[in-house]
């Protein structure tokens, strides 16, 4: 079903180069995920590569349908297979390729060494079990604690994420918590087994701004205390600016720009990143300038990209964009961009 299966290798990413001293926690190479549907194959993730240092926070931004969630779901095979299929790629974590692990070993990693926070705290908590039970479960499974030990640890965790009178609240059911509190419970569950890697998929999107600010502060604090690596998926460029070390911008199932957070915002290199930042209303003065918008629609992913998927909406489009699909390449010390434009040319 992939007529165009040219193997594309990419240069190593900046964080890998500097990683001579410390081995990365996670190293993803050439990940490709497709969905086989009645209307054909959807190429949701194409040739995604990135790596994560211990303690690093990678922000993944992109619009809906850009493949951010599918990328992280693929890492742990959390996708329904079929219709999904992970066509190629390697996901190195703790010296093994997660994609080749048997289901049982993978299950041991999920919720153990790798914690997951999902977008909607209501649907990802089980409504018929108490919050305490749901935090105790991974502790007993992965850490082999006794019931008593686990309950003590669960109360500590709830306390850690800032839930008042933690011990009593263990007996409560998810519906007895507010949205922000539920998200804190989710974070407590994800942190239960001291993960080396935490994946947060739109963890604050469903929350109000004031509660979002609380959760972000909490994550910053926990990161300092526990030192795990985090992948933070969001569509909100503001949130990423506040917490990320590196940012990967996704479009049409590919990473189109990968850069250190300061250079990305100060000097975006990919036309899509540039356009995305320009569409935001300015934050310094309330001038009534006209908003810049990106014309056109998000790409259709039913073909393996043979050309640049942003080309139809790009203001710098030229011949080569329609003929070849650009891969991530080095633009400066801190930035990589998937664009045929010469660097610096705008």
């Amino acid at each position: 079903m992939q007529g165009n299966k040219t193997k594309q290798t990419q240069e190593t990413l900046p964080s890998q180069r500097s990683a001579t001293a410390v081995a990365p926690v996670l190293c993803v190479k050439d990940l490709q995920t497709v969905f086989h549907t009645q209307d054909g194959t959807v190429h949701a993730v194409n040739n995604v590569s990135f790596s994560l240092q211990p303690g690093e926070l990678l922000g993944v931004v992109g619009e809906s349908g850009s493949g951010k969630s599918v990328t992280v779901m693929s890492l742990l095979k959390l996708l329904p297979i079929p219709p999904a299929e992970i066509v190629s790629g390697t996901v190195e974590f703790g010296g093994q390729d997660l994609l080749k692990l048997p289901p049982k070993e993978l299950r041991e990693l999920r919720g153990g060494d790798i914690g997951f926070i999902f977008q909607d705290p209501m649907t990802s908590l089980n409504p018929v079990f108490t919050v305490g039970f749901q935090i105790v479960e991974p502790l007993r499974l992965h850490m082999g604690m006794t019931k008593k030990q686990a309950r003590v640890r669960a109360a500590e965790l709830l306390d850690l994420v800032g839930i008042p009178s933690a011990k009593e609240r263990l007996k409560d059911y998810p519906h007895q918590f507010s949205g922000g509190m539920r998200q804190r419970v989710m974070i407590a569950i994800a942190l239960a087994c001291d993960p080396k890697l935490l994946i947060a998929d739109e963890a604050t999107t469903a929350l109000d701004v004031t509660v979002q600010a609380q959760i972000i502060e909490l994550i910053k604090e926990l990161r300092e205390k526990l030192g795990m690596a985090i992948i933070w998926i969001t569509h909100d460029l503001g949130v990423v600016a506040g917490i990320a070390d590196h940012v990967a911008v996704m479009y049409g199932g590919q990473i189109v720009e990968y850069a250190d957070v300061n250079s990305l915002y100060a000097n975006p290199s990919h036309p899509y990143t540039q356009a995305l930042l320009e569409t935001l209303p300015s934050h310094d003065e309330g001038e009534n300038k006209r908003l810049l918008s990106i014309p056109g629609q998000a790409p259709n992913l039913n073909k393996y990209p043979a050309s640049c998927s942003f080309a139809p909406r790009c203001r710098y489009r030229f011949e080569r964009c329609d003929k070849e699909n650009p891969l991530l390449r080095k633009i400066s010390k801190t930035q990589r961009s998937a664009c045929w434009l010469e660097k610096g040319k705008k």
């Binding site: 507010s178 979002q212 300015s282």
Partner: protein, 326 residues
């Protein structure tokens, strides 16, 4: 702005939803969704209404169109009190006030064509024949930046942004004066949001529309609104023109809200001081006795827990509900 004619005037609007409990379904209390809200909207302006989820902003938006019956208070549209109009009189006023909904997927009937959807208000309220209606629909689709030949397509064939445009075309069908935009961009992607906001602004300039723009996105409100009202737990906290509100917010809640909005600039983010609010929004069924914000207010004092603050004019055109704001 202050010389402009007042198009809509809301005074002391209250909407309470009863709570029934027990086998006999006895009324045990009220959810005070909107509890004493007053504001004016001038002709041709955009009033932004912001607040967190559950604060009653959508309920307010619906109540000013009388989609909910008010428990108490008055809504005057062009000097007529619409809350006491008879059904026939109300129907005659409806063409002048329209609404754009949040979810463009849910507000369009999937079994109707675009033409059917946009011409429905024309069938209800005008005497145009089929040919005239089709012309009008095509004109409307052009006005919202869509290809008029899409008239026979169904909503599922369009993307979110295009569906929102169809919703806007429908709202414009009867040449309204006033449109309530209830989170029109919340369900859209960032790159599409700007398209829709620009369209709304263009239409306002061309047709002299007046908007009540409900949103929780403060940066977008800052861009589109002339004046902004901040709502919390069914009450207005502050109302001021957009510059004053964003440069010198008087109410502690407004201050906290503004400081919580993430800014897309890592340099600013790194040096920002946040006023973090503790806790969550209380239940509107059982709001605090004094100021509704007292449970989370960083500056709350004894008085705040017992006496509800008055809605007072702090400076010309800046209203605030706080005992201590200055």
């Amino acid at each position: 702005m202050s010389e402009a004619k007042t198009l809509l005037s809301v005074s002391d609007l209250k909407i309470h939803f009863p709570i029934y409990k027990g086998i006999l379904r006895r009324k045990v209390g009220d959810v005070k969704a909107v509890d004493g809200v007053s504001f004016d909207i001038h002709e041709g302006e955009t009033l932004g209404l912001v607040g967190e989820s559950g604060c009653g902003k959508s309920t307010t938006g619906r109540a000013v169109l009388r989609l909910y019956e008010a428990t108490a208070g008055k809504v005057e549209f062009d000097d007529t009190d619409i809350s006491i109009l008879s059904p026939e009189e109300l129907r005659a006023t409806r063409p002048r006030m329209q609404m754009i909904f949040q979810d463009p997927q849910a507000c369009l009937n999937p079994r109707m064509t675009v033409g059917g959807i946009v011409s429905e208000p024309l069938i209800e309220h005008t005497k145009l024949d089929a040919k005239q209606r089709e012309d009008k629909v095509q004109e409307l689709l052009k006005a919202v930046g869509m290809n008029p030949s899409f008239i026979n397509r169904y909503p599922h064939e369009f993307s979110g942004g295009q569906r929102q445009r169809i919703g806007i075309a429908r709202a414009l069908a009867l040449d309204p004066d006033f449109i309530v935009c209830d989170e029109p961009i919340a369900a859209l992607d960032v790159s599409i949001q700007a398209q829709v906001v620009n369209l709304l602004e263009d239409l306002q300039n061309e047709r002299g529309l007046t908007y009540l723009f409900i949103s929780h996105d403060l940066s977008m409100i800052r861009h589109i609104a002339d004046r902004v009202a901040v709502m919390y737990l069914g009450k207005l906290m502050e109302l001021a023109d957009v510059k004053t509100l964003f440069s010198s917010p008087a109410h502690p809640y407004t201050q906290a809200l503004l400081s919580a909005v993430p800014v897309a600039d890592p340099k600013i983010e790194a040096n920002r001081k946040r006023t973090l609010l503790s806790g969550d929004i209380p239940s509107p069924a059982n709001p605090p006795i004094g100021c509704v914000f007292c449970t989370r207010c960083p500056a709350a004092q004894k008085k705040c827990f017992t006496v509800p603050p008055e809605w007072r004019e702090l400076k010309p055109d800046q209203f605030v509900a706080c005992h201590f704001a200055e």
